[in-house]
Amino acid sequence: MLELINLSKKFKQVHAVENLNMFIEKGEIIGLLGPNGAGKSTAITMLSSLVEPSSGDVKFNGKSILKNPAQLRNIVGMVPQDIALYSDLTAEENLQFFGRIYKIKGVELKRKIDEVLKLIGLTDRRKDVVKKYSGGMKRRLNIGVALLHEPEFLIMDEPTVGIDPQSRNYILETVKRLNREKQITILYTSHYMEEVEFLCDRIYIMDQGNLIASGTKDEIKSILSAEKVISIKADNMNDAFIGSLKENPLVNRMVVSEKEVTIMAGKEVNIFSPLIKMAEDSQLDLHSLDIKTPTLEDVFLHLTGRALRD
């Protein structure tokens, strides 16, 4: 349905997106995963015809959208990363306005507004100005507005940023339902790998403007087939221990957080005895030492040497 060919965007200094190649088929949920600043939003604004790429092309059903974006626009619903709503208007007034600019009118508009409000769970609050909403409610309305004209292709740019877990689950479930029940094709952007893992059939991972991996979840995780992921937990994680990990040639990659260190090492290497010895030397209260099933997060770590979230 949609194809991105060597898509690039350069701002004065920054290569926000470099030679991005992607395809999206009808009915799929595609994940676009990457840390902040990876170029996800830039990619999305280009593929939705909002911004012209510096080079490359976007093809919708085989035809370039660069000159003729109207057809794509007709079927696209866009959930921007920021809350793109009039905060001084009520949910209903927002929906009315955006419905009318899509030329939906009268009874039909009323029916669609009711339907959307129900879907996003804001029927009771329809008469309240958006300003008074919680973060989660704003996010939901932000999605609702994009659904009003019943798009076939929904693009969501980090739709769950900064909200409570409950609203987040609600949104994730809704996205899944939209795909299953209405066969809406979805491009879902996030820097939360759990969301992408939960929702998506296929995944693209971006970092610093470049695509670093793509495929189904299993395909991507198989990148890690030659390595094992070990999680080390301790209550008194200290610099001496971390320092000796860094120096150890058996440790390929590592991410440090307060009470946990995740490391990667070759599958065939015995790393447990050295680890325990290092812990003893630096007087670490070892809590646990686990081999983990690799996550997308670990794949990202493997590919970039950095954590997805910092």
Binding site: T45, L50, A70, I101
Partner: protein, 420 residues
Amino acid sequence: MIWQFIKKQGLLLWRNPMQLLLVVGLPIVLITILGTALGGTMNGEPPKINLKVALIEHEDEEKQINRFIEDFSDELPPEMIESIQKGEEFRFIQTLKDTVFGHEDIKAFIDFQEMDLKDKDQILNDSTYTSVIEVPEHFTYEMLEGILTNQNNQPALLVLNNEGSQVGAKIVNDILVQYQDKIGLTNFLAANHLDPSILQSTEEMRFSETVSINQSQPVTSKEYYTVGMAVMNVLFVASTIGTFAFIERKIFVFNRIILANVTRWIYFSAVCLSGTLFSFFHLLIVFGFAWVFFDVSWANIPLFILVSSAFAISVGGIAALLTAISYRFKSEVVTSFFSSILVTIMAVLGGSFFPLGDSSVLLQTLGNFTPNGAGMSAYLAVLRGDELEAISGHLIFLVCFGFAAIAAAAVSFPKRGANI
């Protein structure tokens, strides 16, 4: 479609009471302050002209005419006699009473009284009278004789003016001079045996001329500042609309609008139109307030509406221009520069604070090339009682300015105003 944008814009304004208060309330507050502060010294009303004129006749005019006809029935042609019998134009004093002092516009400021000869002394001692007009004995008889028999000994009216009321006396004299001219014309026509009744139309014309000079009222300081504050503050409507549009882009709503296949032309027209419409309402509210509370009234309402419309179009143009520039440079600096500094400069140039144009022709010209200055000049002219012709130049400028601004804005409006 455009209507949807205007409606939404209106709602946004309505939900921003602070903004609304600032835009509509500020001029009202300023007008109130200036109105009250200036109330004592330069208070409103122009010095009200109120004259009192008495007319004293020594002899009844009708009797003199009958006598004249008796005396001259043999010498003059019968048509002439008949026209003297019937013609208003030979009843000089009656004409003075009816058409001159009886004229609606003159009655408005001259209290005209016919008095008896026996009251003369009393009147002359009464200082409330501006002038006393005394018609000597045989006046009409001698006038007729002078005109119709080509004698040159014409009688004169005796006018006694009150020393203390020079301005008033001057006005009365002016009126009498006009009247005399008219009689002179009658003389001329009659002497040449033309029908003096053609005078009736000319006479109307002459008096309406006098009247229009009298109508041209000076603008009071209260009116001046009302117009000054209104035309200045309406510029904030433009910056408010410009700010709304800029925020629309900043919060990515504009991206949604693009994706809905709304062309920039529609978007843009909506910005202009809401600027025009809201400025128009703004002007109505502010001037309406000044009318109710400060008695700044508009005699010529259609012309007032016309000026307001033309001015509102120019403000709509400014709103469009501000929007386009802030989109182009992706910055609100332009709009805030406009509302903080440029408005003040334009207001000074346009004469909102004091009549700058009085000090130099150059500044006056410059002032009239700001939309608010042109609007101000037009409004003041309407208050003065000028007609459409007198202000058409300003109106044309305002409308042209509006459209030029819209065109400039449209050209510089980025093709894809989208935001990442």
